[in-house]
Symmetry: C2
Subunit: 346 residues, 2 copies
């Protein structure tokens, strides 16, 4: 949709590869004190002093991870950065730089890439990270994005997936299931649009969950909050593939089991009402729907007083001995083994 | 060709995304002292102590950067790592880690990805770098690879593109043009094969240049050699797009001009004979053919005695004042302005 609305179309061939990179990155400046050299040399140079370097990478593929018929390119640029920053925050680290590579077919005009980079720039600005590298190349078909995020942390502050202990509390940030349901709404409107191109979808009632899908926010604030509260989680992971899958990752790496309480899972009212509308079970959506980019972590029970009044944090269960397995305790108080039903691109 | 020869075909769906990553990376161990946490958490954790972090990233797209009809996947895995390490060495830094992400369509069996990762593993082993992350996802069409390389260096050792001064000597490693001509030979054999599938190409006379194309080596040895010789280049870049384009990058960043002498450009005998066979000018090939992954650098004249006897290093020109421009001095002693005619994917 976005592309067709754009009256200006400059072909990528006109600029060539170097001209394109220069053009797209000319307004990116280095702000973070750790960025010594950004774009313009063979490699970026970063100075993390006595801190450790933290690095994570992710790919987003058109038709697999996103659908350009309802994804504004600016949002896509923003989201591409977010999904990577989320991994850095899940280490309890500060995100500092990103590299963004993009492969696009010639059908994309320059103006489309400008939109994409405007989203990258906004994400960089709001999260105080610098774009320090990347590659721009052509693809045979569609768009593919690869982002690497870098961050830094004192060794003592880093939180791994490993480290959860029996009796630790299982805590989640924000609320779950919104991004997945937002995607269902967008897919439904796309089908309606196919049948009736004149239809004007009213997405207003779904604005929260549509935004969760199209423009997620990584939880930089939580890393800062935990520092302020003087809480160091015993283990942490970000929720990209659904709560169930992520809990199982923590349990596997930490060699523990857990009890997750269905009635504790935080759900936004829009998630509940839209689940009903789609005749889907909201718990299943929270457990298996992905892309919420919230953080899931465990803390020692002794730290509970520090977090208990915080509206951003919800205790949803506790860690058990490995022999007890990983279970969901339903509202009806039945115990169901947790299964990973997260998203699989293949 | 490779895929068809393979009797075993395991579909990617069978494994799913997590199973696939686990399977492909299970034999990768961490060897470099700076690798604290590799694959298996939200992000890798690296400890470069008092050194700076150096990072570079590149994408390789099927049908644009490589042709699987004549590129063995193991070589492709190897080359994907090399093109990125080359950027780290061009900073005069030590390469220490890579992340490797790959998007493939379902037409690739697991065994094809195993071949690719075998090449990645070989590159990691020979260059003493660790695979510490990556992503594996499906694509709608073909294969796309994104690699990020990380390295480290003392601040005082880092060499940028900027820094060349008038009268500095322009030095190149190895020899040039081989990778481009190797590609021409492979493309020719592909056409022959299309016409006559029974033909058995004799690539023996071209083995040097075909290997330059399919399995390039990044110049880790040069960084070590320069350290041993106690030479710090004043500027440096790796040659991925052809000598001409890279010289112009150095001149632009350093705000200088240069004279490049045609008769000094190092050419392998196979490059000379194959250029004649293809009725191409070998100088043009060295200037504009890409993918040699040699290093181009400048040194102060005072350092000349330290490098002069070294068979790996050839002085090909010198830096001039910016006002004199960048020129090629031909064998006939005519002066031609250097133009960037490097490769452009669009």
């Amino acid at each position: 949709m976005l592309e067709d609305k754009n009256p200006q179309r400059t072909s990528l061939e006109e600029l060539g590869e170097f001209g394109l990179i220069d053009h797209l990155t000319q307004n990116f400046e280095l702000h973070h004190p750790s960025s010594k050299m950004g774009i313009g040399d063979d490699a970026a140079v970063l100075d993390f002093k006595d801190k450790k370097t933290v690095v994570s990478t992710d790919m987003l593929v058109e038709g697999v991870h996103f659908d350009l018929s309802y994804t504004p390119l600016k949002h896509l640029g923003y989201k591409s950065v977010m999904v990577n920053l989320s991994d850095i925050y899940a280490m309890n680290a500060e995100a500092t730089q990103v590299t963004v590579s993009i492969a696009v077919s010639n059908r994309f005009p320059l103006e489309a890439l400008e939109e994409f980079y405007a989203g990258v720039a906004l994400a960089c600005k709001l999260y105080n990270v610098d774009l320090v590298g990347g590659d721009t190349t052509s693809s045979n078909k569609g768009m593919l994005i690869s982002v690497t995020a870098l961050g830094m942390a004192q060794e003592k502050d880093i939180v791994y997936r490993k480290g959860a202990k029996p009796n630790d509390l299982l805590v989640v940030t924000g609320d779950l299931g919104g991004a997945y349901l937002g995607l269902q709404v967008l897919e439904r409107e796309k089908e309606v649009f196919k049948v009736n191109p004149e239809s004007q979808p009213d997405l207003e009632p779904y604005s929260y969950i549509v935004e969760r899908q199209l423009k997620p926010e990584a939880r930089k604030d939580i890393v800062e909050l935990l520092k302020k509260l003087e809480v160091k989680p015993t283990s942490m992971i970000d929720i990209s593939d659904g709560l169930s899958s992520e809990i199982l990752h923590l349990c596997k790496r930490s060699d523990v089991g857990c009890n997750l309480f269905e009635d504790k899972i935080p759900l936004d009212p829009t998630v509940i009402s839209t689940s009903e509308e789609f005749q889907m079970d909201s718990t299943m959506i929270a457990l298996s729907g992905g892309e919420d980019y919230e953080l899931l972590f465990t803390i020692a029970q002794a730290d509970f007083p520090k977090i208990k009044a915080n509206p951003n944090l919800t205790v949803i269960g506790h860690i058990t001995d490995k022999s007890e397995g990983a279970h969901l305790i339903t509202r009806a108080e039945t115990k169901i083994p947790l299964k990973a039903q997260g998203w699989n691109s293949f």
